[in-house]
């Protein structure tokens, strides 16, 4: 999927929604402890391992396997630079999110450099879909990818995402 460039199309403004609903904020699930900066050349599996390991969940190995299994069925990619590895696990109470940023300015524009890995409760499809939708929505913000890739510290990442979501 690559529908990031939506400015190229003509469309109506959609008008009033059928009913407003509170959307999930990505920043509400983000902790500075779960944000990592990777140097170039780190294999994807290694990054996923690190990201899963940072989450406060009981079985990291089970979670990693679930994420890798889901990736095998087709990666979730929104824009070429952003990958959303995810899985649904039994017994989780809520969404657990970690973010990986590949610090490699020389990397081709099309290589995934932002990883938003999240785990969601198997029993709650709604929150899982809402969160995917919220992530996708967040990525539509103008200059979001470039801004995030230029950051150097976890607290800046949280701050940037909050700032974008506050502008919502």
């Amino acid at each position: 999927m690559k529908w990031f460039k939506r400015s190229d199309m003509k469309h109506s403004h959609g008008g009033a929604p059928a009913g407003s609903v509170k959307i999930l904020l990505v920043s509400d699930y983000l902790s500075e402890k779960s944000i990592y900066f990777f140097s170039s050349g780190v294999p994807k599996e290694e990054m996923l391992f690190k990201l899963v390991s940072s989450l406060p969940i009981p079985d990291h190995s089970l979670a990693l396997n679930a994420v890798l299994e889901r990736e095998k069925m087709g990666g979730t990619i929104v824009d070429s630079a952003i990958s959303i590895p995810h899985a649904r696990l039994k017994g989780l109470k809520t969404i657990e999110l970690s973010v990986g940023i590949v610090d490699d300015p020389a990397a081709p524009k099309d290589q995934a450099r932002l990883f938003f890995l999240f785990l969601s409760p198997r029993e709650d499809t709604k929150i899982h879909l809402h969160f995917l939708s919220s992530l996708s929505s967040l990525f539509q913000a103008e200059g979001f990818v470039e801004a995030l890739l230029s950051l150097k510290a976890p607290h800046e990442v949280v701050q940037k995402i909050r700032q974008i979501e506050k502008g919502i």
Binding site: W3, S12, G14, P17, G19, H130, L132
Partner: protein
């Protein structure tokens, strides 16, 4: 002429003329093109040396430089027609008959791209195995050609099935393949330079050496042909020309390139040019300069890059390891080219089908996957026959292959020249070197490119016997099929028009074009609306269920079908309905009439079905999106894809959409914010 009764039975379908496309960067576009064009590095060296001797690299270099000018023709035509492939451009310039002829030649190119790539991959693999076995004291030597045949058949069948299932073409995969090829290319260049540094540089001779095979019907005149005269150079050039096969892919990815389109197309073309120049041309030079003459053609003519790895400096295990990497990369890129050939030919055949010049039965969609499987079957059957007939011989394949490559370029170049006079609308970009005398423009650059192509193609006709005989037979047969089925189609069309006047089965579709989608212009008048997405006329369970549950007093039902086309399939005209789509709309309306509700049919061209559904649901302020179960995805993943798409189009403040996936006896329903 449309009769009054036709008008009465015709159904109104709203066509959203602004295709709901998502776009790819020029890097991705270049990667897709390179997956086709750069794969020739694996076999061009051996084929060209077989024909013209050690001068081959010079001519491959010449072809690579000339390819940039051919790319300029594609850039000009893409600026004029978003779908600027051979068929469309030639048809516009010279009419349907010549267009059918040119597309027959192009089909020959596509049909041979698969076998030559697959057989070449097999030759590389068997070469590696036969080199490795003795190192492990295995006294087994596999028969190269037989192995290559079986391997090629297996690869072709694999991609046939992938295409029948409709696995989308992935620019991600193309990028990964090109990343791998780049690593291989950089290592080859550095290692070869180091080897030449140690052993000394001995450039190959410039003069080609012809033999009976390479002169073909001109062989009796061999003493009169000067190797470095105009004829000699052109013949040698013609034998190296297939190094630039795959240019057509550039035109076919154009529609998907992100804005600014033409600038990005030029960038992609430049990347392709530099890449091929470095990889294909340099690779050929290194092979000639590094592999000893005594073994190069006798042992490595079909896997020249493997031979190169074995004669680089350094320890043997390291060289063997590198050969394995070269073979692995070759497998990826050559297999990619097999896939591209199936996709490309299917795209072109679909385009012809839309113009009614293919038999109706060939265009029927696959009952489960909805793909044009019969067209895919046709291409793959021809490819399998080619693999068996060639007996694993790359040279024979290469010789024949050049026919389709050069003649499709000739037609394309001629068409662009003619369009300079026929269509005077301002061009976004023109092939340079245009001179004016008074108000008349003389496209010197364009005409020169055409002249080179035409001269080369004409000489190829008399020197490449295999290509001329097989290519002519193939082209004539395909041309005859196209002409014949067009006549049948027109006859049938007239008959159907008459039948419709007397209450026929398929409703005519009137397309009411709409640039910007909104509820009012769509004809929505009720406070609530639901969107039902359909694709398969035999799977309308979800439509039936949705219709049976709604309150017609308060709810409009919009039924959309998305004409999805990505990558090479974008060659087709997305704003025309096909016979199958008309049948789909007929069935939709019949289903609605059976239940007793009216529906608003909507036809949306897009290259991403999930995005299109979400976009339409948003623009129409639909509360519910109802879809059938996907043949490709698990419902859970299908739901995720829609949720992601919804997130991409909905306002940030959030707006709920109920997504329902309905299939026989089951439903998966969820609200997404």
């Amino acid at each position: 002429m449309e009769t009054i009764s036709n008008k009465k039975t015709a159904r109104n379908v709203i066509l959203v003329t602004t295709a709901m496309l998502s776009f790819i960067s020029f890097w991705r576009a270049a990667a897709i093109v390179l997956c086709d064009i750069a794969s020739t590095v694996y076999y061009i060296g051996g084929i060209a040396e077989h024909a013209i001797g050690k001068a081959a690299p010079w001519f491959i270099l010449g072809v690579m430089l000339f390819a940039y000018t051919v790319r300029a023709i594609y850039i000009e035509s893409c600026g004029m027609f978003v779908r600027g492939g051979v068929y469309r451009v030639v048809k516009e310039a010279m009419g349907g008959t010549i267009a059918k002829l040119s597309v027959s030649a192009l089909m020959f190119d596509y049909v041979l791209t698969g076998p030559i790539s697959a057989v070449s991959a097999g030759q590389y693999l068997v070469g590696l195995l036969n080199t490795t076995f003795p190192r492990f004291h295995i006294s087994l030597q596999l028969p190269s050609n037989l192995f290559a045949i079986f391997f090629a058949i297996a690869v072709t069948i694999y991609f046939w099935w992938q295409n029948v299932k409709g696995i989308p073409e992935s620019s991600d995969k193309a990028l990964k393949i090109m990343a791998c090829t780049t690593v291989m290319g950089v290592i080859i260049i550095i290692w070869s330079v180091a080897t030449l540094w140690v052993r000394g540089v001995h450039l190959p001779p410039f003069a080609p050496v012809f033999n009976k095979e390479s002169l073909g019907w001109l062989y009796p005149l061999k003493d009169r042909i000067k190797p470095l005269g105009l004829i000699g150079i052109t013949i040698a050039f013609g034998h190296s020309l297939l190094a630039m096969s795959g240019e057509e892919t550039l035109a076919q990815v154009y529609r998907e390139i992100e804005a600014p389109k033409l600038k990005n197309l030029k960038r992609a073309a430049f990347i392709v040019f530099m890449y091929c120049l470095l990889l294909t041309a340099l690779g050929s030079f290194f092979a000639i300069m590094i592999i000893p003459d005594s073994v190069r053609m006798s042992q490595y003519s079909d896997n020249l890059l493997s031979g190169l790895t074995m004669y680089l400096i350094g320890p043997e295990p390291l060289r063997l390891l590198f050969q394995a990497f070269v073979v692995f990369t070759g497998f990826l890129i050559l297999a990619g080219a097999v896939n591209t050939s199936i996709i490309g030919s299917n795209g072109v055949l679909n385009r012809l089908g839309e113009d009614g010049i293919l038999p109706e039965f060939l265009r029927r969609p696959h009952p489960r996957f909805g793909t044009s499987s019969r067209l895919i079957d046709l291409t793959v059957i021809l490819q399998l026959i080619t693999i068996i007939l060639c007996q694993g011989n790359i040279y024979v394949l290469g010789e024949a292959y050049a026919f389709g490559v050069i003649w499709s370029f000739v037609f394309k170049a001629l068409a662009v020249v003619i369009l300079r006079y026929k269509d005077k609308t301002p061009r976004e970009w023109k092939v340079p070197l245009n001179f004016h005398i008074g108000k008349t423009e003389f496209p010197f650059g364009l005409a020169s490119i055409f002249a080179v192509l035409f001269l080369t193609a004409s000489l190829n006709l008399v020197t490449k016997q295999v290509a001329t005989i097989s290519g002519t037979i193939f082209t004539v047969v395909f041309f005859a099929v196209f002409v014949g089925s067009e006549k049948v189609h027109m006859k049938k069309h007239r008959k159907e028009s008459l039948e419709m006047q007397h209450g026929g089965h398929t409703d005519r579709v009137n397309l009411n074009r709409l640039d910007v989608l909104n509820p009012k212009d769509c004809g929505c008048t009720k406070p609530r609306r639901i969107l039902v997405a359909v694709r398969d006329p035999n799977n309308l369970t979800h439509l039936g269920k949705a219709l049976s549950e709604i309150d017609e007093e308060t709810t409009d039902v919009v039924v959309m079908t998305s004409k999805v086309a990505t990558g090479l399939y974008l060659e087709g005209d997305l704003t025309q309905t096909t016979k199958e789509e008309e049948k789909l709309f007929t069935k939709i309306i019949a289903e609605a009439e059976k239940i007793g509700h009216s529906v608003i049919p909507l036809y949306v061209p897009s290259n991403d079905p999930f995005y299109a559904m979400a976009r339409v649901a948003f623009d129409l302020e639909a509360e519910e999106l109802v879809v059938g179960r996907s043949g490709k995805f698990d419902p859970e993943i299908q739901m995720e894809q829609i949720a992601l798409a919804w997130g991409a189009v909905r306002p940030m403040s959030g707006r709920p959409l109920r997504i329902r996936i309905i299939w026989e006896g089951a439903e998966f329903k969820e609200d997404v914010a």
